[in-house]
Amino acid sequence: MLAFILRRLLQSIAVLLTVGLVAFALFRYVGDPINAMVGQDTSMEERETLREKLGLNDPAPIQFLVFIGNAARGKFGLSYRTSEPVGRMILERVPATLELSICAALFALLVGVPMGVYTGLYPRHWLSQLFQAVSLIGISLPTFLIGILLILIFAVWLRLLPSFGRGETVDLGWWTTNFLTWKGIQALILPSITLGLFQLTLLMRLVRSEMLEVMRTDYIKFARARGLTNRAINFGHALKNTLVPVITVAGLQLGAIIAFAIVTETVFAWPGVGQLFIQSVQFADIPVMAAYLLLIGLLFVLINLTVDLLYFAVDPRLRGQGMARPAGH
């Protein structure tokens, strides 16, 4: 198991280096960083000195190593747009994005999985048919449209919930949070639903088809033959086997949620990293874009590692014997 984790760690580092290379290429070769930093009236010599000082004349591999070294310490230079340190700009906005993403993911999990279990156990029940129909809508409507519809209904017509911004936040020094005030929580509701709805429908459909599959297996039939209660069979044996493949997808989806937050943050003027990214694209603010790329890459890698570890916790077939045995059931 240790060897497996080590192998995964090495893979993760390789992935991060690749993302780093893309970010570096963006940084170095899209536009001229000097142009972006100095005014029109700077002389060629001054530019050249700056170029030398910033190390832009060093061989590319050296520059890459320096870039990676800096990135590892959270140094991404100054924003072309605001001249603030990029690391700090991003860190300030991470809490907004993470809180939104986690709420959206919890919404998707806590509603999507039970809905999937229900429709898997009672596929013919009218409620299941309703869930299926609703999930079709969730899958086919684009996120921004769902956001706008929700704003229209709950903010404009019913005036129940705010339509933009984080509402009230509490500053904990290293983190600003929505969770400590009622207004902050209210502000989270619409964006979380918007961001989570697509993943919710995906999860529901996945859990449903896995559940249907598992209920047909021999070990479920044998569990019935042993006279186990429906509760033990449905929520013990069946659910646990259903969750094995669901864990991977849910992990991937958390990554997707964080990445897709861009759209939702734009619709709801949510001051997160995604919104910052959109602003950076408009201004060709390369350092911010590069840092954002690396941040998302890092999150994906961390999520995948967690998923792998969860697998070990859930599936005994992976323990002890490495990955040699097929995981089929």
Binding site: D218, Y219, F222, R224, A225, G227, T229, A232, H237, R317
Partner: protein, 340 residues
């Protein structure tokens, strides 16, 4: 060992019918099947694949898969009718009074639970034991079915056991609550040939010791000959011959059974198909009128084409064949006549 005949039967199956509604009409897959099993008796059930053996077994344990359903007849256990019990009542019978063993030990166990956990949950479902007592019982069962080093193996997961060892675990699971009857549906078909005889011997020994009756479904006549007290031979959804194992094996009365006995494979040699008889069993949609066996029967007469025989006394067994009725089969028919 012959079952004492004066005891009331443990299991009574009377005129059981199992059907499948399909778009093109209803298929009758088990047609008017009746038999008894005495306490402690081993009833072998043989027949070609598709004869209705599994459906009969599943109907008895109340686990027919929809859209299959019991369309008629009744099943009684210790005198109490069980085929019409509500799901929850029947659940309490399964595992407690009737244990089941299925064909494939590789897929019968939940891969994510240790075998100990699966044993303990089954024991605690049916017996009022504490977790500790249940675990002790689980250990005893594992030892009884011959799992070496049971103390450490109890916490292992199914994938850590070989096929034969897994089937032993499955047998232990079926025995958890000391049921009166075990329905074993081809318990060795999926196993390695070298393991089959061991598993059958184990099943036979355990059921004798626990005085558990067994309905042993198999298409291996060798297994039946060595294990069963009585045999029921199924063909196209019906029992065509039933009687004490010695008589059926040595003096089969139904032409189909005679064909089966033509070459009894020795115990442990697996025959995927019973190839001694020409032709194949008809599909449910193509069962001929009269005796369902008539297209393959060398002794058929005109009567066999029009009238269907029920089970009738034939020597020491009962057979569904006109040869054993006073009227006989009527005049012989040629192949051409039968096909016309």
């Amino acid at each position: 060992m012959a079952a004492p005949s004066n005891n009331p039967p443990l299991l009574e199956v009377k005129n059981l019918r199992v059907e499948f509604p399909t778009r093109r009409g209803t298929l009758l897959a088990v047609d008017d099947v009746s038999f008894d099993i005495a306490p402690g008796e081993v009833l072998g059930v043989v027949g070609e694949s598709g004869a209705g053996k599994s459906l009969t077994g599943n109907a008895i344990i109340g686990l027919l898969e929809p859209p299959g359903r019991i369309a008629g007849g009744e099943v009684r256990l210790e005198g109490r009718r069980i085929d019409d019990l509500p799901y929850e009542e029947m659940r309490k019978v399964r595992g407690a009074k009737i244990g089941a063993i299925f064909q494939d030990p590789l897929t019968s166990l939940n891969p994510l639970y240790s075998v100990g956990r699966q044993l303990v949950e089954t024991i605690q479902t049916h017996l009022p034991l504490s977790a500790g007592q249940a675990r002790t019982r689980a250990l005893d069962l594992l030892k009884e079915v011959g799992i070496p080093a049971a103390e450490s193996r109890i916490d292992h997961y199914p994938h850590q056991f070989s096929g034969g060892m897994r089937q032993r675990v499955v047998i232990a699971l079926a025995l958890c609550a000391d049921p009166r009857l075990i329905v074993a549906d081809e318990p060795t078909t999926a196993l390695d040939v070298s393991i089959q005889a061991q598993i059958i011997a184990l099943l036979k020994r355990l059921c004798r010791e626990h005085k558990t009756a067994v309905m042993l479904v198999t298409h291996d006549m060798g297994v039946i000959a060595e294990t069963a007290d009585r045999v029921a031979v199924m063909y196209a959804g019906r029992i065509v011959e039933i009687g004490p194992v010695r008589d059926v094996v040595k003096h089969a009365k139904h032409p189909y059974t005679k064909g089966l006995m033509g070459s009894i494979p020795s115990l442990g040699i697996r025959h995927d198909r019973l190839t001694q008889i020409d032709g194949a069993m008809p599909r449910l949609t193509e069962i001929p009128p009269g005796c369902a066996f008539n297209p393959r029967c060398t002794e058929r007469g005109r009567r066999c084409l029009g009238e269907r025989p029920d089970l009738m006394a034939a020597g020491a067994t009962r057979a569904a064949c006109w040869l054993h009725e006073r009227g006989g089969v009527g005049t012989a028919v040629t192949k051409e006549l039968a096909d016309a």
